[in-house]
Symmetry: C2
Subunit: 398 residues, 2 copies
């Protein structure tokens, strides 16, 4: 199995250590599996201790053997159980004044245990610093995105083969999932925010495109039951309906996000056609404007203004109280990374950011339209990583 | 879409309130999506406030409309944003002395926010009380398990059609996934423990059956990359190999867990055959012995003793430092529910528990064998919910 280059891990650790020194934090203790993977190259169970200076220590409970095979880190030790953690930590950090934890994802009970291990230490949240590091992708990571995008393209090519009148949404979805998986999709999509989750993404048709749910995105979908209330449902796909394919391709851990709309028939309702054109316009104007230095909030306001100017204010990124307050989101090892292309996100685009731009219109009673691509911020502007025709794709009903 | 009967929710809330009064907790604030679903019947985004006495209040951020449609609770109110939560909580609980939160799953930063909202209150962990309630399944829930088990059976029937020499593990897995999904599998498998996750479960062959990983189970598997290191890999399935199908069927939220072993050919190595017979013996002896009142730890020790007596001590539930310290685990809306059939779990089986019993042997260099069924604890003993032939299933290589 391909493992991560040692240089990649070295640089990530060094950047984290720089942040720690800036904040006068003596050490970070990394516990979440995705952050562990980012800083060690392996997803095995354990804790990574990164001191502000010097060699990191990776304490691994299971599987030590696999961690040693996959991670280029020099100092990997066996951790028999959580009961041994206090001693191991106190040995390495006798009297820390300030330690950093991922307070956005670490469960409260673990946080309280760390408090007991270090009763004298101040515990601070290191999660934003980690998320900002992870926001800027290396050439190594960008190459993985490109490989994922090639699979995404093959999937979009195959979709018309699976799309048939009278087929249930979930059956249609199952075939796309099978196709993606066979080509190397890892299956699971990881999200960082508490309670947010998705299974491949969203595939829906017709009125189900406007079915609301908890998910922080423009579309929701019924799902198969209230227990997992998003994505494809039991509904059959009919002639004359818009069909959304907003599926992630997660390759070697990295989320590639695209959306294309298909239409079963050839008479797309005029309002949906217009809606689609407006989303393409929004995308194109953003690509003309955006480059390093431009604020994320500015890009969002441009998108919202263009939607309003075109008469689509009430449909932009959802309708009524369920409007999603953004037009793009960073992607990486998690689906909900920085940057967010949203109001009040007053920080600039930077070279190496990768985000999904997804202007969409949700029109109650009619359906939805829009486009989504995964974009890389280069020194000159935005570059599409996902490349595929963006018009509504007409499929002949069979 | 089918929604939950109001009586079901009433009873769950009443039982929680009894626990709260026992512990002198004034109110529980439920935040995790799975617990929310259990106590409200919907998985929408919000917070459920359950006072020790009286009507619960469900504050919903998104989607209010859907929460109202799906939940039989009487008091559902709109929560504009988290910023409005302090006021809403303080209005309903002016000066609480003791409140309960799910400290095992609630992220530390949310815990700290609740501390700020109620600076005078003692915050206690309510998660074990909730997990113990959820451990005992109602007739309504057991009926859903039976529906899931019917899908599991159809899947096992179909497996030999998908199993071919030279096919990659991930391609084989993709076809099983597609089959399950088309029949109503929700896709996602939820786990409660921090950093634990699985995608459908495990499908592996030959030497990959002994590939170690972080996952708390007898098998691991390579996965497609170190980023998601479990389950099927790129390896091709060969003649003369054991093939594991340990896939969850998650229907209407509930996990049905079974394992069967397939063999491509007809000459199963003797040691694997013997290992398989021992696991069947362990299962049968447990079914003869176990009933309400018998301790979980006792059952585990019986299993371990039988494995040792048969000469399989070193292979039981894994090998060397990667041995899983259990032989069964509760299933429900999450894969890792109570009870755990493990050492030191000194509490008795109770009527209404549902757990997966999975005696397995992992033999380095050779493969694995075993069986898994989802079982219901009735007043008389154990009843298999998953019913399917348990011998190694021979498949002719094509």
């Amino acid at each position: 199995m391909e493992t991560i280059p040692s240089k990649e891990i070295d640089e990530r650790i060094k950047k984290l250590q720089l942040k720690l020194r800036e904040k006068e934090i003596e050490a970070a203790i990394i516990a979440q599996n995705v952050d562990l993977f980012y800083f060690t190259g392996t997803c095995q169970k354990g804790y990574l201790i990164v001191p502000a200076q010097g060699e990191p220590l990776f304490l691994v409970n299971k599987s030590l053997k696999r961690a040693q095979e996959e991670s280029p880190l020099a100092n990997i030790q066996f951790l028999q159980s959580f009961r041994n953690l206090p001693a191991a930590l106190q040995e390495n950090m006798p009297h820390p004044k300030k330690i950093g934890l991922e307070l956005d994802v670490l469960p409260a009970h673990l946080y309280l245990r760390f408090q007991k291990i270090f009763p004298q230490a101040q515990i601070v949240d290191i999660s934003m610093a980690i998320r900002k590091l992870r926001m800027l992708k290396s050439p190594y990571e960008i190459e993985i995105f490109r490989q994922g995008a090639a699979i995404d393209r093959q999937m979009l090519d195959a979709v018309p083969r699976f799309l048939r009148e009278g087929k249930r949404e979930v059956e249609f979805a199952a075939e796309i999932e099978c196709f993606l998986r066979s080509l190397g999709h890892q299956g699971a999509v990881r999200m960082r925010q508490f309670n947010q989750e998705t299974f491949y993404g969203h595939v829906m048709s017709g009125e189900n495109l406007t079915y609301p749910t908890f998910f922080d995105g423009p579309t929701g979908g019924p799902g198969l039951s209230p227990a997992y209330p998003q994505g494809p449902g039991w509904k059959k796909i009919h002639k004359g309906e818009m069909v959304l394919v907003d599926y992630l391709t997660v390759y070697q851990g990295y989320c590639v996000d695209s959306t294309r709309f298909f239409f079963l028939g050839d008479n797309v309702p005029e309002l949906l056609q217009k809606a689609h054109q407006v989303t393409l316009l929004i995308q194109d104007e953003i690509i003309k404007t955006a480059k390093p230095g431009v604020y994320c909030s500015e890009i969002y306001r441009l998108a919202r203004q263009l939607a309003a100017d075109s008469g689509f204010k009430d449909y932009f990124m959802g309708h009524s109280e369920d409007q999603a307050p953004f037009v793009g989101h960073g992607v990486g090892l998690e689906l909900d990374e920085l940057p967010f292309i949203a109001d009040r996100q007053d920080y600039p685009l930077q070279e190496g950011m990768v985000f999904a731009l997804e202007p969409k219109m949700i029109i109650p009673g009619l359906g939805a339209a829009g486009v989504e691509n995964t974009l890389l911020v280069t020194d000159r502007g935005l570059e599409k990583i996902t490349i595929y025709p963006e018009d509504i794709i007409l499929v002949e009903p069979r």
